[in-house]
Symmetry: none
Subunit: 208 residues, 2 copies
DNA sequence: TTGAATACTGTACAGATTTACAGTATAGTT
DNA sequence: AACTATACTGTAAATCTGTACAGTATTCAA
């Protein structure tokens, strides 16, 4: 646990946090002195020395506006908390499943997938044997080509569908993953066709 | 539209953005000069004057580290962008799938699910008919009870498993979703049993 | 009652920093 | 050919800034 600040020190520390948050710059000691009506900069220096000793800030020696607020006081403003939801590992026998020791990592779509990804809601049953159900979101990495046999979002005449791709000569075969469906053949000289991207993830929200 | 920066001006502007983003402070003109090998600070001043004239920054007169980057250039650093990856809707005929107009919303686990959720990696094939595959992450909302027939994470004698739950009297039936597997019966008077939470989502990362 | 922490004033100075002014040179526009 | 913008060097003054040192006063714990 960190040593508590006195009320005056807290005021000054809060002012520094406010400056960074609202004005986007660290104040100088003279600016702090002016704010609090101190007639001497050394008043600020004394307070900062105490605040620093207690671990709330550090200072870049010699640098102007060199007060550096410790990481743990940036809530959401700058050093973002760990993103996403915790991935729990195997629980040791008897240990509560929520034990922090068991956190293997964190799951977050924007961390897992980068800038070039988008999500698309799947309609229909044509890919259920590939584990992609009606209503699922597929995560798609934008790329113009995929290897034969890979699952991709294909756009045929402006219509987007998720299918397994098999390109051969002047034709593309869009293969569903459901025994009740037949592959679709697209003639590249007739239809406008392109690959929007490769399906790299599936997400399903379970209701009920 | 804003006047474009020259490549040199852009470099300097980018460096300032980097400083703010990574080091958390605005550089002084001397720090910029040192970074770019300028022998005169006035080189920096000239560039800044140009960058300011074009509207990318303003300057607090007389203040050290007084460069103020214009609001519209804080991407993610301060004024947080929308979280998550874009969910694209139906594309209008012929419209490019990446058109911003078609963004229906954004998908992000920490937004979709709240604090009381965690993820768990599934091992085994026992739930494949429920669309939960080996290696998938299930998203679990922590709660001590579920309705019969719902899928949950059950902890039996410290061992966590994902199954459909059927509680009846002094027994719990853990029902797999795979015809090759048989339901497991847990005697509550013999085994330590509790529900870790309800499975409310599934996420699969597709490799290959 | 001695000491340490807090909470200030006041002064001073070295070095950091902005800003200004005087140049040089090149490239593109009018 | 004159003008403007870009892209620098060099110098120097004005002011900003952190840091140090010398005090004063109060409070609280040992």
């Amino acid at each position: 646990m960190m040593k508590p600040l006195t009320s005056k020190q807290q005021e000054i520390f809060d002012f520094i946090l406010d400056c960074i948050k609202n004005e986007n710059y660290t104040p100088t000691m003279r600016e702090i002195a002016e704010q609090f009506g101190f007639k001497s900069v050394n008043s600020v220096n004394d307070h900062l020395t105490a605040i620093e000793r207690k671990g709330y800030v550090s200072r870049r020696h010699g640098a102007s506006r060199g007060i550096v607020v410790s990481d743990e006081f940036f809530d959401g403003t700058d050093s973002e908390d760990e993103p996403g939801i915790p991935i729990l590992g195997k629980t040791a026998a008897g240990a509560p499943i929520t034990a922090i020791e068991n956190v293997e990592g964190r799951l977050e779509l924007s961390e897992l997938y980068g800038e070039e990804h988008f999500a698309l809601r799947v309609e229909g049953q044509s890919m259920i044997d590939a584990g992609i159900w009606d209503g699922d979101y597929v995560i798609v990495r934008q790329q113009p080509r995929v290897e034969n046999g890979q699952i991709a979002v294909a756009v045929v005449d402006g219509e987007a569908t998720v299918k397994r791709i098999n390109l051969k000569g002047g034709e593309v075969e869009l293969i569903p993953e459901n025994e009740n469906y037949r592959p679709i053949l697209v003639d590249l000289s007739v239809s406008e066709f392109y690959i929007a991207g490769k399906v790299v993830g599936v997400h399903r929200v379970i209701r009920s």
